[in-house]
């Protein structure tokens, strides 16, 4: 928290009137810390690189979506949700926006959080910070809130950019329902990245070396994105019932496999976002013929879509909170010494 010192210096020397006013108007020391953290991050190369990466992603997915929008609309005449196709349409060469987010989101989270505490500690500024008359948990809270703010701004910017360019190019404005679906999609993306951010902060508290925490974060990400599905496959092969005698049995087993997959945050995220952006999805699990009989294909209202993925949203939010709680406890219990 090197900027805090600068703030103090600025406050001391009353560098500019403008600066002084800003400091004066920051009511609470906590928000001052958040502000400093945000400024620190924004000016860093790391954030610029991440932003560039996300921009590229946006442009690439927008390009894919644009070139496939026509065929995607022709394929699916049942739903009037043209605008949402921008986020999901693809021709297979480049993944759509939602896949990019689920792939790069964890990277952003890890990149913003992996050195939150241990770099401070490494530079020896943590003990100095703690010497200030502020509660100890302000440090970790401020780091978390600042990073989350950055993520929020980034995701909202990208989402709105996507929407804006979409309107410009297609000439189709989103309906209120589509707008809210996009809004909730962006919100879910923020929560999803928040999970990884918290995980990275936890590692940064736990491991002294930033490289170690970064690597462990990446390892977890790699595990979930590459090896987890393999692991589930192995479990499935091992536990698959030899004789299927009953429909309920196969449905129950299918549910079990799905729940195993849902341990991965990426799975929860992709289920939630797909349901939000494709209104025709009516259920995520297997459905029996009895349930399908008499059903008419049609889009769900937003409320029902939300209700359908409510467990996923709950899971993601709870995971973010619990990991944050863990890192909080770890940080609070940690012994902080001056440079040793």
């Amino acid at each position: 928290m090197t900027l805090l010192k600068e703030k103090k210096i600025a406050a001391l020397f009353r560098r500019t009137r403008f600066m002084r006013q800003r400091v004066y108007h920051s009511r609470h020391p906590f928000w001052v810390m958040v502000q400093k953290e945000v400024m620190d991050s924004i000016n860093s190369w790391r954030f610029i690189i991440l932003l560039g990466l996300m921009l590229l992603t946006t442009v690439a997915s927008l390009y894919t979506a644009m070139s496939n929008l026509r065929s995607a609309i022709l394929d699916d005449t049942a739903t009037p949700f043209v605008f949402l196709k921008l986020f999901t349409a693809t021709d297979g060469t480049l993944p759509p926006f939602i896949t990019f987010i689920s792939l790069l989101g964890p990277i952003i989270g890890i990149a913003l959080g992996f050195d939150a505490v241990n770099s401070e500690r490494g530079r020896g500024t943590l003990s100095r910070l703690l010497a200030q008359p502020i509660p100890r948990d302000y440090i970790i809270n401020a780091k978390f809130v600042a990073s989350l703010l950055l993520i929020t701004v980034m995701i909202l910017t990208l989402g709105l950019l996507m929407t804006g360019i979409g309107i410009l190019v297609t000439g189709i404005p989103p309906t209120p329902e589509e707008f809210w679906r996009i809004f909730f999609f962006l919100l879910v993306s923020i929560v999803f990245i928040g999970v990884w951010l918290n995980l990275a902060i936890m590692f940064s508290v736990r491991f002294r070396q930033p490289a170690t925490s970064a690597l462990s974060g990446l390892a977890v990400w790699l595990f979930f994105s590459l090896f987890f599905s393999m692991l589930v496959n192995i479990i499935v092969e091992a536990t698959a019932p030899a004789h299927i005698t009953d429909v309920t049995q196969i449905i129950g087993y299918q549910g079990f496999v799905q729940n195993l997959l849902r341990i991965s945050p990426s799975q929860l995220f992709s289920e939630a976002t797909t349901t939000l952006l494709v209104p025709t999805i009516r259920t995520l699990g297997p459905i029996t013929l009895e349930q399908a009989y008499g059903a008419i294909a049609g889009p769900l209202p937003l409320g029902q879509s939300l209700l359908l993925v409510w467990p996923q949203l709950t899971g993601l939010t709870a995971a973010a909170c619990i990991i944050f709680g863990l890192s909080y406890v770890l940080f609070m219990k940690q012994e902080v010494r001056s440079r040793s």
Binding site: R282, Q291, G294, A295, G298, C321, Y328
Partner: protein, 390 residues
Amino acid sequence: MKHNAQKILAWLTLAWLMGAVLIPALPASATAGGILLFTKHTGIAVTPGELINHTVDIINDSNSIQQVSLQVVEQPKGWEATLMAGGWEISRLSVKPRSEESFTLQIKVPLQVEKGSYRFTIRAIDNNGRTATLPILTEVTEQGIFKTELETDQPSMQGSADATFNYRLTLRNRTADEQLYALSADAPRGWSVDFMVQAQRVTSVKAEANTTQGINVTINPPAEIEAGIYTIPVKAQAGLSSAEVELEVNITGTYNMELSTPTGRLNASITAGRDRMVELQLSNTGSKELRDIKLNSSAPVDWEVRFEPKSIASLLPGELATVNAYIKSSDKAIAGDYVVNVRAQTPEATDSVDFRVTVHTSVLWGWMGVLIIGVVGYGIYHLFRRYGRQ
């Protein structure tokens, strides 16, 4: 007139008898050297307005050519009788010796004539002044009417309310003059009656004296008519005479009903596992009473549809009945739209309606999610409280 004719006949007979007795030297008309009149049909039955052609033969019994002058000496008043031969009207005819010649007595029976026997007498006088007479008796078997007749072979037809009834009428002008008939029908309100002559819609029709004219009558009953027998008088009115015929239309009832809701709305939303009341409206749009209307449904698996009341005993034409349907969805139903088909049926008529039922999933698990988040949030708050202010 008849009396007169009989009198004359009596006198003639008397004269002939006297002649035969008193003047035996004079040859009789039947004897050689005279002429004879002969026809096969001396007594015929006719109807008024008919044209009769009697072929009469003159037989020349003498050895010289006879110039015969012919005359109808007796005919009823108002009747026309003409003598024709070779296309001409004749008064004299020449007959070769020992030969015979034929001519025609054309009688037009008047239209207005009493029933009874009428007598005609033709007298032939030859060169020598000898005469021969031939009485012909014509019996009119019908009262001469001098009026118009309107009739049909098929005065009664049967069909449903949406059918078209076609009647074929024959208008017979039995007056002596050409008439222009105005055609009219005294149909109840809502009926349409059209008169067609030679595929043209007409309101009047012209008929020459003693001719017939065919008229087609097309009757369309109103759609919402009750079953029953309806009589429609059709009239042809000319200045002096008119004729009327009653056409009978037997409307068989139609059975029809319509199932809908009071607002016409055919969708409903329902929470999975719960039930929902939908008000149905049943209306009898036919023309006959519907009895014992049963309601049933076909819904997705594990759904229940209950009706209150389960059946309707009777529904008169044009009446409405309200039925409450309680639709209970399966608790395994997934969110989104389902089709529930509701049918109302009697043996005669049936109608069905498809409801689009939107299933909402229960919000219970949503609250569970909120609860979990709440617990986690409380945990973090607890951590803040425990470690925060160090």
